[in-house]
Amino acid sequence: MNPVLAADITLPHINYGAIAPILILLGMACVGVLAEAFLPRTLRYPVQVLVSLVAQVAGLATIIGLALSNYAKKPTLTAGDALAVDGPGLFLQGAVLVLGIVATLLIAERSVERGGAFVAQAAVTAGSEADAEQARRQPSQTEIFPLSLFALGGMMLFVSANDLLTMFVALEVFSLPLYLMCALARRRRLLSQEAAVKYFLLGAFSSAFFVYGIAMLYGFAGSVKFHDIAVAAISSGKSDLLMFIGLAMLAIGLLFKAAAVPFHVWTPDVYQGAPTPVTALMASCTKVAAFGGILRIFYVAFLDSRWDWRPVIGVIAVLTMVIGAILAVTQTDIKRLLAYSSIANAGYVLTGVLAMQKDGISSSLFYLVTYGFTVLAAFGLVTLVRDQDGEATHLSRWAGLGRKAPVLAGVFTFLMLSFAGIPLTSGFTGKFAVFSAALGGGQTTLVIFGVLSSVLLAFPYLRVVVLMYLQEPAADAPTVAVPGALTSAALAIGAIVTLLLGVWPSVLLDVANSAAQFVG
């Protein structure tokens, strides 16, 4: 090696305090892997639940500490400018963890389905005698806990990455565990493993586009740091073509994760096939992470070229809202219905993002949190409606649930009203925030399509409500399981936050407002 070159390399300074939350999550995930290897089988479950929850609570406490100690006001770059510790980054990390804790409660539940919602030995062939045996009595695998910690740690890294390479590494760190988690359902394993194959192949395809976009932008700007790309976009004399091809490729990768419309086809199949607690994790946390990445790329690296790309992303936002809403109307399965509703909701967040001003950032952050809590509670309730084959997700099976289980039906109705955007729920305040930000940013067309599609989207939600209350239950109607302590806690948190942010949104909106400043 050339001695002169070697002497030039100086190690970057790393501010360990500022990136402590990410380190805690990834470190505790490693502890989880070790526990899986060395502890006796009976001890694994309590230890893993404890490690998982302690890691997330400690990470959250550290984030709150950082936010209070002025990192939000005086943002810093660390690790050779690869990581940004700023207001939106801390807010998104906190959001990922808060939603992650609730999702972990759902994942850890073991009393609704005996032994938990996950397969005991993934290597047993689905449909064999051994498989029936394990589905009946053996407890779930506990690898799901370290996997989910790795995924959450990757998401936190993703939302605070300040260059494209770090972002790509983080993208893979949170995607790879999710592919595996999709395949771990205890019942309907064929569906679950097909979902994993589909998610993996399409996910790897989209991340190849993402990294091709990085190579284009590296060729254009000579660097992968967001700041350098922003500078090169204004000052370099080169043709913009390379930059726009690169941006388009990056956007494909990111919009795939966020489930925007031309790149949404995986969503319903994967949401339906994956174990429901994992679906809840994907619908809430992955969405936060994906939009965190989108916000940072658009607002830091490509802010000055926004007049050129905003119309294109605007068309995608309109398509996402309208097609998501139309296809939601035709669904007959509750998990697929929620999947299409999550596609439409991605369109609403995109509307907020395209405001391209401070309001746009804060309202998108707010929307992501409100939607996350509501969707967690909704999927939590889906796990409770069961028959002898597991969850009864077909809508016709939900007929008459209002009489059999008034409390469940009441909470579910409330969540559906929130999705439909009825006042006094967080769905209304969230939509109000993103639409008013988009109006302020001059995106009137988007808001018109947004309002129209949310009217359309109210129909499938209200159809479920009508089904639950106004139809006679079938003779073999599914039973409603009594939720265990963990699921009850998750449902209570989700429903209470949905109500609280509906009546008193300023609690969170003020925090989002004070956090809405990216470091350049």
């Binding site: 689905a126 064929l190 339906q272 028959d387 016709s396």
Partner: protein, 124 residues
């Protein structure tokens, strides 16, 4: 001199990869096509590196990152595909979407009364 040939080769490789993903129906071949796309990116990084003055050799370092991540992806991907193979005795992805679309309602609509010996009766 501007290195044209490597860029064109990289674009061709990427195009072949995209074509492979869109046309092939064998999961392992799909995985290979995706690898081809990632290798096109590696070639682009290395080529761009020679023509950019500034931070020395950063493009080559990016290539190392991409290689490691591609290896990790193959590890996870082959595991998922292997499970899929055990299930269906084939790695054709043709039926995946269709099976998911049609199986779900059929499964849910199946008569509840019949006590099946195996709750996962849908396999095979």
């Amino acid at each position: 001199m501007h290195p044209v040939i490597p860029y064109v080769v990289a674009a061709l490789l990427f195009g072949v990869g995209v074509y492979g993903v869109l046309v092939r129906r064998n999961a392992v071949l799909l995985l290979m096509s995706i690898e081809l796309m990632l290798n096109a990116v590696n070639l682009m990084f290395v080529t761009a590196d020679t023509s950019i003055v500034g931070v020395p050799r950063s493009g080559q370092v990016f290539t190392l990152f991409v290689i490691v991540l591609a290896a990790a992806e193959v590890g996870v991907g082959l595991a998922v595909i292997l499970r899929f193979f055990r299930l269906r005795a084939s790695v054709e992805t043709d039926g995946v979407g269709a099976a998911t679309e049609t199986d779900a309602p059929r499964e849910a609509d199946a008569p509840r009364a019949a006590v099946r010996p195996d709750p996962d009766g849908e396999a095979r």
